[in-house]
Symmetry: C2
Subunit: 142 residues, 2 copies
DNA sequence: TATTGTTATACTCTATAACTATA
DNA sequence: TATAGTTATAGAGTATAACAATA
């Protein structure tokens, strides 16, 4: 088990961690009857005030046509609303409803708790990890 | 930016990292014309010798019916083969073809390189990160 | 009776292309 | 002409339920 290439080993651990955290996230979102994509979009809309559909597509790094369906489902459940933009009549602006704000808050609180529970670290290690993670080349910091 | 709850902050970084590594993985797999699920299954089959379909479902933590389709596509491309089990005639055993072994090796080598490039760490930090990750509560170490 | 793998079905996410209504 | 959003279409992953073959 020991003695392997350290670089290879760290990547193995890293991908195990990615899978684990992703699975935890998916399970937490599912507890709120949301998919991963829906949970991310709801959070973005709830946290960033009125945003055009287009901005959601950019943030999610997906095609705009996807966003239509995801917002359809969030809107059907009363978590998000489409509104006309006063500045540009082509644009539809997204706003979280009161219920949407509640769900987003509860969901992401649960996500954070779950992730911290998985980490099982003391304060020192947590600070060290934070320092290391701060250097990672993130495509899109959230 | 600074001064927030350290726990909250670390989770933000962690999920940004998860998204980033996952996106890199997806892009690398796509360069081999494979989906994320196909890449994972191919690696498991190529690395674990003859395995029953059922074992793949357990490893992937998904329903057995999914595996049928994923293996169908890998088999259509000549990367994997279904074989009859001599011990139990209900079981189909999976083996990577020579081409499947090649692809699995090249793909995962590229995945490791990409992940290391994203990390941008010196040796000391890499050792530290490895130590921290070793404590994380992985659902399924690979 | 229980298990292995498949099929049928349905839903979500994903992209591309074509369309509309604006700009 | 270019852009925002939608629709149509297609493919992939996911789960549930029902099924045949085998244990």
């Amino acid at each position: 088990m020991t003695g392997g290439d350290p670089t290879e080993e760290i990547v193995e651990h890293l991908f195990a961690l990615v899978d684990s955290l992703r699975a935890g996230f998916e399970a937490t979102a599912a507890a709120f009857d949301l998919s991963v994509a829906q949970a991310k979009v709801l959070r973005y809309v709830a946290g960033s005030g009125p945003v055009p559909m287009r901005d959601v597509a950019c943030r999610m790094r997906c095609d705009a046509s996807n966003v239509t369906g995801i917002i359809d489902r969030l809107e059907d459940r009363g978590l998000v609303e489409r509104r006309a933009s006063s500045a540009d009549r082509r644009v539809k602006t997204l706003v979280a409803t009161a219920r949407g704000q509640e769900v987003a808050g509860a969901l992401w609180s649960a996500v954070r708790s779950g992730a911290v529970a998985q980490l099982r670290m003391d304060d020192d290690d947590r600070v060290t990890l934070l320092r290391l993670l701060g250097r990672v080349d993130h495509v899109a910091p959230r």
